[in-house]
């Protein structure tokens, strides 16, 4: 079971509280987890990745195990603590600065 933590606004859109738990088939990659999130919550399509190009939106970040995975390719396998459910995969709204 993959644990995913969504930012507040996306939790509101998806009508969920707290962490989301998802079954994701092997191989568990950055892209397959994002696809699983969007399949479970279609309202989030376009809000994490562009509808057409599937590129990460500029001010969305992906963190896991104290690492920034935002710039990794979609086929990158996620770290073992994430795939085993020990650590969550974090989808984060980037800092606004100011």
């Amino acid at each position: 079971m993959i644990r995913v933590l969504l930012p507040t606004h996306l939790r509101t859109l998806a009508c969920v509280d707290g962490e989301v738990q998802l079954e994701v088939p092997d191989p568990i990659t950055l892209g397959s987890v994002l696809e699983a999130v969007e399949n479970r919550f279609p309202v989030l399509r376009g809000s994490i990745r562009d509808h057409v190009t599937l590129r990460r939106r500029p001010f969305v970040r992906f963190f896991a195990c104290q690492q920034d995975l935002s710039h990794e390719p979609p086929d990158m396998p996620l770290p073992q603590p994430v795939t085993s459910g020990v650590e969550p995969f974090l989808i984060v709204g980037a800092m606004a600065g100011g």
């Binding site: 507040t8 939106r57 709204g93």
Partner: protein
């Protein structure tokens, strides 16, 4: 007794303000979609409890929300806005050509006849249509063929912000785009022509009378006279009596003719309202006095309306989509400010009262007159 509902979009959410026909006591609900920019909300003229809202965020993109109960509950519908065919390019800030890129929906215009049909004006400038209540959207690519390669975004973005459906001719639609101008279709959106003859932009364009490139801020029309259009341009208030084929300036005795909104009285097609703003470099009212100006002659002769509005130390702006009228007797006029106030007048503008004072910056106000 009739009721009035104001649909208010702000920088940090949507608010729904409702009152009975007296319009002296208002209930305020919101924020809906707290934290999101709500560029525009508008109801279907034929099914007023059917509302559509443009919900947008620099982080999480575009959402479209639909309500079937007058804004009590909402459902996200489709938000996939994909340009048709070859995207093409427009002028970019550095003089190069730049591909069209979708950024957000500025304005939603429900059909005059069908609650499931809605037009959406977007940035980068284009017009989209849904016929299934917002689930899917298709572009009118012919608009970008109207010299779109020459359009160039201004500092506020290249947004399509005005959509006017001609009640006497279903094939005719008027639209306006920031820093591109006004356009008209007479064949239901297949082809478009620029309608900017008579506009002069001496300080904004190298050719002051260019066919496209004028920064039109807003156009208004009274439904009983669909060939008469009123325009607040970047500078200049303009009027056309032939559906946009030619424009003449009607700024007349305004203290400044820069501004954003323009609207028409519900029962007097010659009575129009603007909010003069000092200049394009100082987006606030002249002398710190918030004044709506009314012309009862379709322009040229203007009267300041100040009763109930702050007449000192006021430095708010009123954005292009933030003025609206109801259709009660007497006509109600409403506008919202970047300071978060929504003002209302129940006597056609003679006097004003703040309905609410401390909302987030107001982006849009739409009035609905309900049975």
């Amino acid at each position: 007794m009739s009721r009035v509902r104001l649909l208010v979009g702000t920088r940090k959410g949507a608010f729904v303000l409702t009152s009975d026909g007296k319009r002296d006591k208002w209930e305020i609900s919101g924020p809906h979609f707290a934290g999101w920019e709500i560029y525009h909300i508008k109801g279907s003229p034929v099914e007023p409890d059917r509302l559509y809202a443009s919900q947008t965020s620099g982080w999480f993109g575009q959402k479209i929300q639909r309500s079937n109960d007058g804004g009590k509950t909402w459902d996200a519908v489709g938000d996939k806005f994909v340009y048709e065919g070859q995207t093409g390019t427009h002028q970019w800030y550095d003089g190069t050509q730049h591909p069209w890129e979708f950024k957000r929906v500025w304005h939603l215009e429900p059909s005059l006849k069908d609650p499931d049909t809605v037009y959406a004006g977007v940035e980068d400038a284009a017009l989209f249509l849904t016929r299934d209540g917002g689930q899917t959207w298709q572009e009118f690519p012919g608009l970008r063929s109207a010299k779109g390669n020459l359009w160039q975004p201004g500092a506020g973005g290249m947004g399509l912000h005005t959509i006017i459906l001609d009640p006497s001719n279903p094939s005719r639609i008027f639209i306006a785009i920031s820093a591109a101008g006004a356009f008209r279709t007479d064949d239901e959106g297949k082809t478009w022509k620029p309608i900017n003859q008579g506009l002069k932009s001496a300080y904004e364009l190298p050719d002051p009378t260019a066919e496209v490139g004028h920064c039109v801020h807003r156009i208004a029309m009274h439904p009983s006279r669909p060939g008469v259009l009123f325009m607040q341009k970047h500078w200049d208030v303009m009027r056309s009596d032939n559906a946009g084929d030619m424009w003449t300036e009607v700024s007349g005795d305004l203290p400044t003719d820069f501004g954003f909104p323009i609207d028409v009285h519900a029962h007097e097609p010659q009575t129009i309202y603007v909010v003069p703003i000092k200049s394009d470099s100082e987006h606030f009212p002249p002398d710190g006095k918030l004044r709506v100006y009314r012309s009862r002659t379709g322009g040229n002769e203007w009267q300041p309306l100040t009763k109930g509005l702050p007449q000192s130390d006021c430095y708010v702006n009123v954005l292009r989509d933030a003025m609206s009228v109801d259709s009660l007797q007497p006509c109600g006029v409403y506008f919202g400010t970047t300071g978060g106030q929504v003002y209302g007048s129940t006597d056609g503008g003679d006097s004003w009262t703040p309905i609410v004072r401390d909302l987030p910056a107001v982006l849009s106000v739409e009035a609905q007159t309900l049975p």
